[in-house]
């Protein structure tokens, strides 16, 4: 750009010659220059503003167009996203310890009716009634025509039934997919599994909810979509469970019992290998809860967990173990066993009026099941310490099992604990517990005195429990239990090669109004095997058994529960991979406490 001079010489000289003021020329030029500069600056500013406006306009219109597109188009799932293998809808399976299926799901269909679309309601009603015997044609027709537009007919259909309904061919009959809970093993482990039913129902799907047993206890875990691919693994073993149920059922029918329960438990981990309660039911077709009568008469009643019975002489070992723990006695100590014993107005007697006294060794008190001997030991311990010990053994609280029924089964015990209760509780009378309570207490003894918490779930980590008694005491107690079988009341319980040890218990049933039945008993055999290195605890309870092979009916556990337990051990121990062992000449655990 050529710069115009403010004082061009030619014009100045010319002006001077004419006598004009040359300053005016300079001012005039200066003004022109400023005008030019201002024009230029304005142009620049205008350009910047326009550019800025253009930027904003395009940015906003871009956003606007995108928003319009999102609002105007229909939402579509991204089609190229692949579903992972683990993502599966529905309830998780339940499997046994070896991965065999105990509960799974199956697709079926539910049948419903849109009454407005029905072409020939009377014919449809008649044909449906012919397919499903539980439906009534007249009732169906009344429901089709009473003005409602929608009606459920059946919750689940078999494929054959579905085909038959298709063949009716009426457009008002419609099917909704349903996921159904299936228990392929039928009645097996029914009390553990419980059952399931439909919760909220829609046309396209229905909620499956657990109604009892572990299905209800673990409902949140089983329904969790994140874990639906992983089956819930229980500690039960399908084969062992089937064997236990078979033997127990045979035993119940041979002993003319009303029912029975068996619990087989691993003493080191607390895992329950088998939990059987008879009579049983089919969880695929779970009966309704009884509304009247004794709940224990219903097949739904889980005798192993809900059955609160006086467990009888099986409790004696707790008194003896505690006395040894406190250093009051050792297995060889002699205690007063002179029967009958009088305490206040109460008379404490032995079975069938025996007298094992005047003195009996502690080991023989257990072997012969002496009430009087145990009573004297309990009096040495005293009520306070006895209660505290029974509580640590878990005999005062419901067994912490993964079943909804377990919480309600609280052991019964007297509110006050006078000395007569100390005496009777020591041999298992006047307080009650479930076979499950008993099994975990025996497992604690068999586990070397470390408390065992029972579980139905497969434990992957080792169990840490508190120590309840010294290891020598636990060993000596197991040795005493072994003597009960070798030369005591449970001689029928011996299984060659498995060194069974255990304690029998017979208790008369409590009448509803109070008092005891003369001829109704609950027999229990709590056993530990093998006694030289305890691996499993088996508790067998029979409800109202009577053994009639002899001249007069026998109702003691030694004749009823013990042979059943022995047969269970004989059949299940090989299944558990235990090889029969030649026993050492004598178990010297009896002297272990001394040194």
């Amino acid at each position: 750009m050529t710069r115009t001079p403010l004082r061009p010489l030619a014009r100045i000289l010319d002006a001077r010659a004419k006598g004009e003021n040359p300053e005016l020329i300079e001012r005039e030029n200066l003004r022109q220059r400023h005008d030019a500069m201002r024009e230029k600056a304005r142009g620049q500013a205008q350009f910047r503003l326009t550019l800025l406006a253009a930027c904003f306009f395009s940015a906003f219109s871009l956003i606007g167009v995108r928003m319009g597109m999102l609002a105007g188009t229909e939402a579509v799932e991204p089609r190229n996203a692949s579903a992972g293998i683990e993502i599966q809808a529905g309830r998780a399976d339940i499997v046994d310890v070896k991965g065999r299926i105990l509960a799974t799901n199956m697709m079926t269909h539910a049948l419903y009716v849109q009454t407005r679309d029905l072409i020939d309601p009377p014919r449809v009603a008649a044909e449906l009634a012919a397919i499903f015997p539980e439906l009534d044609a007249d009732t169906l027709l009344r429901r089709f025509t009473d003005g409602r537009s929608f009606l459920w007919v059946r919750k689940v259909l078999s494929p054959e039934q579905m085909q038959l309904v298709h063949e009716i061919g009426d457009p008002g009959l419609l099917f909704g997919p349903r996921e159904m809970r299936l228990y392929p093993n039928g009645t097996l482990a029914a009390h553990v599994l419980g059952g399931a039913s439909f919760g909220n129902e829609g046309v396209d799907s229905a909620e499956v909810i657990g109604t009892a047993g572990i299905e209800k206890f673990m409902d949140d875990r089983l329904r969790d979509p994140a874990q639906s691919g992983q089956p819930l693994q229980l500690s039960l073993d399908l084969t062992v469970q089937a064997t236990v149920e078979e033997v127990l059922a045979t035993g119940i029918s041979m002993m003319n019992a009303k029912g029975g329960a068996a619990i087989l438990m691993d003493v080191n981990t607390g895992e329950i290998v088998s939990l059987a309660a008879l009579p049983t039911f089919d969880p695929n077709d779970r009966p309704n809860n009884p509304t009247s009568g004794d709940p224990s008469d219903s097949p739904l009643f889980n005798r192993a967990v809900q059955g609160i019975y006086e467990l009888g002489s099986t409790f004696k070992i707790f008194a003896v173990a505690q006395a040894m723990e406190l250093g009051l006695v050792n297995p060889e100590s002699m205690v007063d066993a002179n029967a009958p014993m009088y305490w206040g107005k109460h008379k404490i007697d032995e079975f069938e009026g025996h007298n094992y006294g005047p003195l009996l060794s502690v080991s023989d008190v257990i072997a012969k099941s002496s009430n009087v001997g145990t009573a004297h030991i309990a009096l040495m311990i005293g009520g306070e310490r006895q209660q505290a010990f029974l509580k640590t053994m878990g005999l005062f609280d419901p067994a912490p099992l993964e079943l909804v029924e377990a919480k309600g089964a609280k052991p019964l015990r007297p509110a006050k604990w006078p000395e007569i209760v100390t005496i009777t509780a020591s041999y298992g009378h006047g307080m009650s517990g479930s076979p499950m309570n008993l099994a975990s207490a025996y497992a604690t003894i068999a586990n070397g005195g470390i408390k065992v918490t029972p579980t139905l779930l497969h434990r992957t980590a080792p169990m840490m429990g508190e120590r309840v008694m010294r290891e020598e005491v636990a060993l000596a107690s197991v040795a005493m239990l072994r003597r009960v079988v070798t030369d005591g009341t449970a001689s029928l319980g011996d299984v060659p090669g498995y060194a069974v040890g255990g304690k029998t218990g017979t208790a008369n049933k409590v009448k509803r109004g109070g008092g005891y039945y003369e001829d109704k008993v609950v027999n229990t055999f709590a056993s530990v095997f093998p006694a030289n290195d305890p691996k499993y605890v088996l508790v067998v309870t029979l409800d109202e058994p009577v053994e009639t092979s002899g001249p007069k009916p026998r109702r003691t556990a030694g004749w009823t529960a013990v042979p059943v337990a022995a047969e269970i051990i004989r059949r299940t121990a090989p299944l558990l991979g235990m090889r029969p062992q030649v026993e050492a000449a004598s178990l010297d655990g009896l002297t272990a406490v001394n040194n």
Binding site: R100, M106, Y498, R570, R571
Partner: protein
């Protein structure tokens, strides 16, 4: 001189790119359709698998197996497992050691070569030691 050629080339390039984009678009749509077909198939197969697993469990339920073992007892002779069935490895009657017939020389061959006597064990350990 160069300009028309450049114009023509870029025009052709645009056409080529358009053709490529068109084909890619349809290829993508076909792939997406295939994915959704495969996913449907996977879901169906998974359902079938679950059904078959349930059926397998149902057919292998212990009660049925017990019944079948009883029905076929004369053919299979299956009995429940019992403690006395455990055995010792020594109780198993092992087959006799194989008699190696070709160890006997019944068709002598002429063999020539060096014999390394130190590696041969004597046929009769009681006999004379081989130097």
């Amino acid at each position: 001189m160069m300009r028309p050629v450049l114009y023509a080339l870029s025009f052709l390039a645009v056409i080529a790119l358009g053709f490529w984009a068109y084909r890619e678009n349809y290829a993508t749509q076909a792939a997406l359709r295939e994915v959704s077909d495969l996913q449907n198939e996977i879901a169906t197969l998974r359902d079938a698998l679950a059904t078959q697993r349930a059926e397998w469990a149902y057919l292998n339920r212990p009660a049925r197996l017990r019944e079948l073992a009883t029905l076929n007892f004369d053919r299979l002779g299956l009995l429940p497992m019992e403690p006395q069935q455990f055995g010792d490895a020594t109780q198993v009657s092992m087959p006799p050691p194989p008699v190696a017939e070709d160890l006997f020389i019944n068709n002598p061959q002429d063999v020539m070569g060096m014999l390394d006597i130190s590696t041969i064990t004597p046929a009769d350990p009681e006999g004379e030691a081989v130097p």
